[in-house]
Amino acid sequence: MSNEGRQVVIPGQILGETPALRPGRGTFVENKKILAERLGVLNIQDNFVHIIPLRGRYDPMVGDFVIGVVEEASTSNWMVDINAPYPALLHVHEVPWEIEFADTEKYLNTGDTILAKVLSIDESKKLQITLNDRNLFKLKGGHLIEFEPSVYRRIMGKKYSMIEIIQKYTRCRIKVGKNGRIWIDGDAEGIEKVLSAISMIEREAITFGLTDRMEEFLKKDAKDVR
């Protein structure tokens, strides 16, 4: 591994052997060999071999914060697109409002955007989300964009360092969904700056030292930031 970039691996590539190493996410084992199952960046920690995916759909996990777009309202629930392979179900019991039967459309309707949490995933990957938690609500105003879900961690940065820098220099309110969606609220210039910051992260996601370069980038044209 060089200091500048991390090692990119592809499906079927041999990454090591058990039991010296142990297979983690994005890997599988065949004849004691650990192999990569998808395109990604190799990450070995405490003898565990992981692949951090570079591409692909959002893979939901219970507890994830996601930004969903309502596809359909029915009498006792909503179907919500959360950018996963499957739509997620939001039941009337999982929202903070008292909803009378068949009154769902008054609260959330097709095209509405919500900040939600993944509640459960069953064996056949049926998803449920909830709005019953702190900081979960229907989003109003602002702008919604999508990014490669795999760069979520880079957008947040270590201990949220990256997202804090972006908020500081753009003076925007930002909500990042783990499912590859970002909601941004602020003035047009600020939003534009956030957009270029996100695409810079997507381009350079697999390199080190990105947070420092980001600060440099945002400092330019941001003279009014005190």
Binding site: D112, T113, G142, L144, W183
Partner: protein
Amino acid sequence: MTIVPIIKRDYITKLGEQGKRIDGRSFDQYRNIEIETNVVNKAEGSARVKIGNTQVLCGIKMDIGEPFPDTPITGVMSTAAEFIPLASPDFESGPPREDAIELARVVDRGVRESQVIQLEKLCITPGEKVWLVFIDIHILDYDGNLFDAASLAALAALLTTKVPVSRFLKELNENDRNSWQQKLLDLYTIPGVDEVPFGASDTKNNLQAINDFPLPMIEPPISCTAVKINDFVFFDPCFDEEVIADARLTVATDHKGDIRAMQKGLSGSFTRDEIQKVIKGALDNGQEIRKTLNQSIGK
């Protein structure tokens, strides 16, 4: 169907009020246009057009067939468009949907009604044999404004099309040959110039020597499309703009500055002033696009 979040729509209109667009363009500004010709070897002519992220490929195939009974001395053209599922998560395989048929018909009209292809020069033997021109439009990547991308691809492909005479010589009988030969000489001998532009100097006696020759074309009109969202008129809509648009207007203008074809689409409406605005923008952008088109065909 991709569902457009309401906040995206609101954001686009909010920007509109500030005179801005979602990708930083001005209202009448096009995205970058790239035209690449001769991209398909098997086709008689072909072009790939990129407008921003939108990509359209057009291929021209030619054949010999019978003319329509009511137009015995003109060639036949037909246009088809396929919204193949490769280009968008919302496109499905199967017979063309009405969107694809509208697109094909608008492109077809743009070419046919302004007589861009000189179909009367594509008759081989009156009432019996004429050249058939098939325009096939393949959408490769859909990020809005298929009308302009498709018609531009069709024009670039037609302008680089070579009539495949050599491949079809076997299909012509003595009568066809004599008729066609005279036709060619009439059409392609430029007064005052001895040289026959399709390659062979002894064509009078030797049809075998006839090479493939460029499809006879006149200077084509250029299509420009704008959409209306609330009270704003945006040229060359990207996907996000197109899916929330209330109305769409395509205007094809020629090199003299005249209007040659129009098509209004979607359920919204335009005012007279807005139509004037679109015509003005179509003329200005049309000129620029014409330059790009001419460059791409080496003119």
